[in-house]
Symmetry: C2
Subunit: 293 residues, 2 copies
C-alpha cells in the first residue's frame, strides 16, 4: 500500500469548525440562528438516524435544526401543507425533505414546493443546470458532490487541466460532480453501465470518482499510476468477522487500488462525513442569502 | 476523401415537411396556428436576417411567426413589458429573444420573464438541468444541440455505448449536447480550452462534436479512423476567391479530416439548417403542450 489516505472525517471536522465560527458571528449580528427544517415521512430507522444526525450537527455547529416527522400514512395534502408552511416561515432558511417519500406521495410535487432559495439539498433542476453554466452560480450545490470537490481542494489536488473520470450519472452525485469538475477546468468523462470498456477510460484518469454503488468495481489494473480517487460508493459487503455480518466498502477494491493511486478516500470515513458538513455550509449560506434578499 | 457527407439541408427539409403536416393538422383541430414571437432589440443587420429567417420558416411550415422589433435605445422596462405581454398572450406559444441584447439591458432578467412553457430556445437552466436527469424531461431542448442529435439519429449512427467527445462547454451548445449524448447512453467526454492533450482525447472518439469556434482546430491526425463528426463551429476564413473576401468553415480541417472520418457534416449545410428546423419543432411542441394544460 502506498496511497495517501484522504481523511474525510478530519476535513469535515475543519469545515464544521469554520461553520460554527461563522454561525456564531451570524447570530451575534442578527439575533437568530440559521435554521434547517428536516421533513421525514414514516418511521424507517435508517431515515430516522439520517435525520437525527443532521439535527445533531446543527446543534454542534450553532444552527437551529428542527425535525418534522409525519406518519407513514400522511396524505399528499398533509405533506404539502407542512412543506408550504416551512417555505413561508422566515425562521427556516433550509428545507431538507428525506427521500424516498412513501409510494403514495408524489415526490416531484413536494420537492417543487421547496423554494430555490431554501433548496439546501441542491436537487432542483435549475440548481443542477446552473452548476454547468459559466457565469451563473447555483444557489446551492448538492451536498455530496460539493463534498467531493472540497476533498480534492483541501488535499491540494490540481483539478484544472486534469483528466477527470466520473463513473455514474445520477442527478444526486455523478452528474453534478461532473459539472463541478468541468467548472474547475478539468477535462471530464462520464461513464456508466453502458460504457463499453470501462478500464480503458478509467486508466486515463488523473482524478477518478466512482459513484455507482458496486463493490470492487474498480480494480488495480483499471487505475493510472498516481491517480487520485474519491470513492463515493457505499456498499454492504458480507463479512463474517463483523458482529452485524457485513462491513461497508466503496466501489474500489481498496487494497489493490491503493498500490497504484497517489491518494484515495476510505469508505467509511471519506465522502460520507463531508455530505453533512456541506449541508451545514449550505444552510448557513441560505440564511446569509435570505438576509441579503 | 472518403467520408460520407451528412447533408443537414436535406435532413432539415424532411423535418420541415413533418412539422408542416403536423401544424396543418393542429390548425384543423384547433382553429389556430402555433405561434412564435421573436423579440429583437436594435437594428443589427445580422440579427435582423436571423430573425427574418425564423419568421419565414414559420410561414413555410404553417406556423404563425410574429416579429417584434424595439429600438436599440429601448429601456429595460420597455423590453420587459413586451416580453411579459407575450408571456401572457395565449396566441403566442414560443418566445425567442434574440441575443445578445444591448449592453444596458439585463439579459438574465429578460430571459427569466420567458415562462418555461414558452422557452422554445431551451436556454432556461431548469431545461438544461432536466436534460441530464434520467426520468425527467426538459420542456424544450435548445435547438442546435437537438439538431446535432437528430443528425446522428437520422444518419443511423449508433450512439449507445459509443465514445462521444464534445469540444466546447457553452450552455447553448457544448454542455447540452454532452448531456443529450449521455441520455442516449454514450460515454461522454467534454473538452475545452484548458484540455491538455486534445488530440489524445479526440482520437478515442467514435462520435466527435467540435463546438468551439476555431477554424482548423481539428486536424486529420486528431481523428479516429471511422469516426462520425458533427461540426458545430462556424468561422469566417479569409478567401480572396470569394466576392466578400471570406468563406465559412467549421472547426475541422474538412479535407484532411474527411480522409479518416466515416461521416462528417459540412459547414455551411450541416448543423446550421437543423437549428431552425428544431425551432419549428419546439414551437409546435409548445403549442401542443399548452393545449394539454
Amino acid at each position: 500500500m502506498s496511497a495517501n489516505i484522504i481523511d474525510g472525517k478530519a476535513i469535515a471536522k475543519d469545515i464544521h469548525t469554520e461553520v460554527r465560527a461563522e454561525a456564531e458571528q451570524f447570530e451575534k449580528d442578527n439575533g437568530y440562528k440559521p435554521g434547517l427544517a428536516t421533513v421525514l415521512v414514516g418511521e424507517d430507522p435508517a431515515s430516522q438516524s439520517y435525520v437525527k444526525a443532521k439535527v445533531k450537527a446543527c446543534e454542534e455547529d450553532g444552527l437551529m435544526g428542527i425535525k418534522h416527522v409525519l406518519p407513514e400514512s400522511a396524505s399528499q395534502e398533509e405533506v404539502m401543507a407542512l412543506v408550504t408552511s416551512l417555505a413561508e416561515d422566515p425562521s427556516i432558511h433550509g428545507i431538507l425533505v428525506k427521500l424516498p417519500l412513501p409510494g403514495h406521495i408524489d415526490e416531484k410535487t413536494v420537492l417543487d414546493a421547496v423554494p430555490l432559495s431554501k433548496d439546501v439539498d441542491g436537487f432542483h433542476p435549475a440548481n443542477l443546470g446552473r452548476i454547468g453554466i459559466k457565469g451563473e452560480e447555483a444557489d446551492f450545490v448538492a451536498c455530496t458532490p460539493a463534498g467531493v470537490i472540497e476533498l480534492l481542494k483541501r488535499s491540494d489536488v490540481q483539478i484544472e487541466g486534469a483528466n477527470a473520470v466520473v463513473i455514474g450519472r445520477s442527478k444526486i452525485v455523478g452528474l453534478p460532480v461532473a459539472l463541478l469538475l468541468l467548472n474547475e477546468n478539468a477535462t471530464v468523462t462520464i461513464c456508466h453501465s453502458r460504457t463499453k470498456d470501462l478500464g480503458a477510460v478509467t486508466r486515463e484518469a488523473d482524478i477518478l470518482v466512482p459513484a455507482i454503488g458496486k463493490a470492487n468495481l474498480v480494480t488495480e489494473d483499471m487505475v493510472k499510476e498516481g491517480a487520485v480517487i474519491i470513492d463515493v460508493g457505499v456498499n454492504r459487503v458480507d463479512d463474517a468477522t463483523r458482529k452485524r455480518g457485513y462491513r461497508l466498502a466503496g466501489d474500489c477494491d481498496f487494497e489493490g487500488v491503493s498500490k497504484r493511486a497517489r491518494a484515495i478516500t476510505p469508505v467509511p470515513g471519506g465522502v460520507g462525513p463531508m455530505t453533512i458538513a456541506m449541508l451545514m455550509k449550505n444552510t448557513l449560506r441560505a440564511a446569509k442569502r435570505q438576509l441579503e434578499g
